[in-house]
Symmetry: C2
Subunit: 322 residues, 2 copies
């Protein structure tokens, strides 16, 4: 019966693949290494072959697959399914991802930006279920985002809407990877948190991080900072507090601009929990107008690493790109 | 023939009223003083009576009016046509504007936020004509805004979207009327421009403004600053340059967030022309991602003071609020 959908979430390190029902339930999932050096042709061949295997394992015929939804880093052209370029995947310039997948599997494929796919997943079946106007921040190595307005993914005129990590927070702040100064990403990303921890220790601050990392500063991770903060380490708490405040400034701007029902945070950093969310909410509500501040819920994502494949499937079924 | 529409634009000083065709052409227009102290009941009585007179003057029957579109300062509930409160109009708390106008004139009335109405006017028949994703900044005493996405006014969940003047630009910046620090409005509004000019002169800066204002600092207006800047006055140019840069920072955030086709600036300050727009565009494009920066047009509004009545009529005909 033609009632299954494939979801693919392409990342710089791993590619997640899932077979889902039309309702977004995961029947089978797997993850394969990206090996970016192989280049797009070989990688996509492996993806297609893995999809076929996965279907065989579950005795699902390829002809029973309705569509394939793919989330991929951008910038990309989601209407035509072309990757324009992606910094972490060399050789994907102007790569016709949609066409390659379709010719490999003979199933219609829908390509979307990875952050948009994850946002749609949270909207469809995660923390945003039941809401129609949603802004999602993804807190990873970089900071990305996605926007759902009136129940529809909002992509902007060139598919570049939702780059929430590149809102300027401090005009003369540190240089960002994007070239701008003082972007949210340059102030509040996980690598930035680690960098600040190392700087602090080097300047003589006493913190549990020193013992947790066994004195090897390069071994410090953001997880270690959440842990030491939860154990009461003052310095680690201050770092999370500052990160939360920067995120809160960005959220306040979003509340006054878009007046959403809910703002969702996903990605590794949400493990920091209330030590991050408390200062974040406080700063956002302090700076925004009373009505949008009162209305909005600021919450953690619910789908974890599955958000991408679930959202890709949701968007493929929705078919906004057809 | 039932083919005319009334547009009303309620401001703190004046109320503009127009009779328009369904195509948005102004047949007749007038302006009456608001006299805010009278309170809403009396003011609306005068508005209804002036509308009747205006129709009589043009031999238009009230029964030939399809709808009345009204733009009013908010916050307000556009679905129900209730003004929640507006700082410049005392006594309008929870005022049922829609109901009062409808009972006074027996014509369906549609109420929207004033900045949203003006934005819709520019979208329908002004600088935004032909575009579908538009962000509009209104530069008046305060800084407001409106957002059109995929050809539809975007209001947010509580009608508070588009408060673009209250995006934080400098987290520790000057206190804004809204209570927050470093809002765009607190840094780049016309009164702020005048305040900075006076501060500069008081601190000993030499500028043409001193002679233009005949030494009376309180006589300095923003128009005077545009004039002296256009005459080559260095200090006035610096003031406009700084204002343009602050606006550009806000625009860059909007470009990365919403990826619009066009950003429109309206209000008195656009008289400053390229002396304001050049630094504004430069700052916006420098800070935003290449694609949305390359795509966007940053332009002056075209409808001037008529944007409000034209947009109110457009929104009334569109009937998104029904």
């Amino acid at each position: 019966m033609k009632n299954k959908v494939i979801g693919v979430d392409i990342g710089g390190t791993n590619i997640k693949i899932g077979i889902l029902t039309k309702q977004g339930k995961i029947i089978q999932k797997t993850s394969i290494p990206t090996n970016p050096k192989e280049g797009p042709e070989k990688i996509i061949k492996r993806v297609c072959s893995r999809i076929k295997d996965l279907c065989n394992e579950r005795k699902i015929k390829i002809s029973d697959i309705i569509r394939i939804g793919i989330g991929c880093p951008g910038p990309l052209d989601s209407k035509r399914g072309i990757i324009i370029k992606t910094p972490n995947l060399p050789g994907w310039e102007n790569f016709h991802l949609k066409k390659r997948i379709e010719s490999g599997l003979k199933i219609p494929a829908i390509v979307n930006n990875d952050a948009n796919s994850a946002t749609y997943g949270e909207y469809w079946l995660g923390a945003g279920k039941g809401y129609s106007t949603i802004v999602c921040f993804t807190l990873g190595t970089g900071i990305g985002g996605g926007i759902i307005l009136n129940g529809k993914l909002f992509k902007g005129i060139d598919d570049t809407a939702g780059h929430l990590g590149h809102i300027t927070i401090i005009p003369d702040g540190p240089r960002c990877r994007c070239g701008n100064r003082g972007c949210l990403e340059a102030l509040a990303s996980a690598p930035n948190l680690v960098r600040k921890a190392i700087e602090g220790i080097n300047s003589g601050i006493k913190t549990k991080l020193t013992s947790l990392s066994k004195g090897k500063l390069q071994a410090i991770t953001s997880q270690m900072i959440y842990l030491s903060a939860s154990q009461g380490d003052k310095f680690s708490r201050e770092l999370l507090d500052e990160t939360g405040r920067y995120l809160g400034i960005a959220v306040a701007g979003i509340l006054n601009t878009l007046n959403p029902e809910i703002v969702i945070f996903s990605g590794g950093m949400i493990e920091a929990g209330e030590l991050l969310f408390k200062p974040l909410r406080k700063e956002a509500k302090r700076r925004a107008f009373p009505q949008p501040a009162k209305r909005v819920k600021i919450v953690k994502a619910k789908l974890g690493n599955d958000a991408g494949i679930i959202g890709s499937v949701g968007l493929a079924l929705r078919g906004d790109n057809f």
